[in-house]
């Protein structure tokens, strides 16, 4: 450590010192090369991991269609998921329905509160709002998802059972749990979006005699709209992919429910409940990997949409 410091402050003036370093084989150009090799291999490894993840899951996910002969069309159209029946049926429609339903429900619950909070942070109480709400957001993000699931199980499910009827487990419980989970994500990104609206727009609007509310909904919100949309889609992506918290409160019945308080299932909850219980390589197991492939494809779709939105924002 000491020699490194010296070298920096006195760039190898003494010949003897330089010779000594050469003898030790530890010149900075040597280290430069070693460091460069490590850093470049790390970058390579990150790319390799991402490609491997995608390729492995695609190949494994296609197995059930290409080798076991499950029909792709059946998977997307048939309404019954019953891999253990004879003959087994692999209709993922109820699961897809469940996934989209809880995602939309959670976004519908979280977005109004999140946008209101974000506007409070950036437009109403600028300094104190930020100082108070930023840590609140970070803590909410930090609470582990199983803890959210556990709260859903012990507070939200009994509440629904007592006040709305049914067994409590279902889309509504899952939507509420997910709504709370994505609240900080949507709020933080939306707050950043409102904050990046240039101040002269607000000032111009206020100078024209507009009230703060008029400025917010006629100037600030329209100006920040594409980024706000990104915030909502980020929330959707998180809700769509969440597994354990949803699995604990949704009831895990592969059916298209008739009401919000009836149990249902999603892609992730089916994988969570069954992947470890089925034999690796069996037909039932392969079908679950196909569900994983659908989940992967949806995740990539969310990423593309978010990219498209931010690309348009940058170019406009």
């Amino acid at each position: 450590m000491a020699s490194e410091r010296n070298e920096l402050t006195m760039p190898s003036t003494g010949r003897a010192a330089r010779a000594q370093h050469l003898l030790k084989g530890k010149t900075w150009s040597d280290r430069d090369l070693k460091a460069k090799i490590f850093i470049f291999s790390a970058a390579l490894l990150i790319m390799a991991a991402t490609v491997a993840l995608t390729v492995f899951l695609i190949v494994k996910g296609l197995h059930s269609f290409l080798i076991d002969g499950i029909s792709v069309i059946e998977m997307f159209v048939a309404g019954e998921w019953n891999p253990n029946a004879n003959p087994p049926s692999f209709g993922a429609l109820p699961l897809l329905f469940g996934s989209f339903a809880v995602t939309l429900l959670s976004v519908a619950i979280a977005t109004p509160i999140a946008l209101g909070t974000a506007i409070f942070m950036t437009e109403i109480a600028k300094k104190r709002g930020q100082k108070l709400m930023r840590p609140v957001m970070e803590l909410l993000v930090g609470i582990p998802s199983v803890v959210y699931g556990f709260i859903g199980l012990t507070v939200i499910v009994p509440f629904i059972r007592d006040h709305l009827g049914g067994i409590g487990f279902g889309l509504l419980a899952a939507g509420i749990v997910l709504g709370i989970m994505i609240l900080p994500t949507v709020t933080t990104v939306a707050a950043d979006a409102f904050q990046s609206v240039p101040n002269h727009l607000r000032e111009a609007s206020l100078a024209l005699g507009a009230t703060r509310w008029q400025t917010i909904y006629r100037v600030v919100v329209p100006a920040a709209l594409p980024s706000v949309l990104t915030a909502v889609i980020l929330g959707m992506a998180r809700a769509f992919g969440e597994a354990l918290a949803v699995q604990m409160v949704i009831g895990n019945t592969a059916q298209i429910p008739h009401s919000l308080t009836e149990p249902a299932a999603t892609l992730t909850t089916m994988i969570t409940s069954s992947l470890g219980e089925t034999t690796y390589g069996s037909l039932q197991n392969d079908a679950l990997w196909s569900l994983g492939l659908i989940l992967l494809a949806m995740s990539y779709l969310f990423i593309l949409v978010i990219r498209f939105l931010s690309y348009r924002r940058r170019s406009s």
């Binding site: 280290r31 946008l115 930090g142 803890v147 509310w213 998180r238 354990l244 992730t268 470890g276 995740s299």
Partner: protein, 294 residues
Amino acid sequence: MNAKVTDRLATLCFILCAAITAGTLFSLLGYIVFQGVSHIDWHFLTADASTFQAGGGIKNQLWNSFYMLLMTMFFSVPLGIAGGIYLAEYARPNKITAFLRSCVEVLASLPSIIVGMFGMLLFVNTFHWGYSVLSGALALTIFNLPVIIRVTEDALAAVARDQKEASFALGATHWQTIRTVLLPAAFPGLLTGIILSVGRVFGESAALLFTAGLSTPNLNFGDWNPMSPQSPINPFRSAETLSVHIWAVNTNGIIPDAKIVAAGSSAVLVIVVLLFNIIARLVGALIEKRWSGK
């Protein structure tokens, strides 16, 4: 209704939204901590988990969580920092860099259960490591890498350009500049980010379900031979962590006091995550204060 009244009402609405958000957080934390804290005692923290009787503890799960966390950090911190240095310092604006950035973005936004499924395919089944600490730690590494990369890149980018140029002007090489000027200057931000990511890794469960498993062998805390199947530090044994335990006792558990065990475990989990959060803030503020000499 005139404009001024509408304005007042709208302001009230926004304050209400913020109050709901803050209220949700405090009631969540309050509920978890106060519900659970009464179940936490020395016995709960140091007893083995029971399979079907009441009164089990969480000793092994707690140990597994910390051991897995340590191993994950051992892999993900050097790799993530290297990746961040690459993006901040070495990357040229070309297609490979753009691809690498996309990869980091993809890894950051994939659901953690997908990462767990990949871990099962590669580490558990292809490498035949089975449900193990190592498989779990590597899956968590994939989960944590993008966070460390971003933290590093941001911290390095925030270092003033003058410092870097001054170092180059003194004849320092590129790596010398990174190692002796940029990294020390970026250290407070880097450390804060890494400690925050620790909390996230500690609470993660979906990525571990299919990589580290739902069981733990009967650990013998007198046996520190890493190859012995009952050793706490054997990387090839299965390891149920605390967060996975909360899920498992609630869904397939048959113990009669599942709710109590889950409440206690949740409280421990949340308290640990909170502690990491507070430590991250304190450490960041402390270093900042000392180094800026205020």
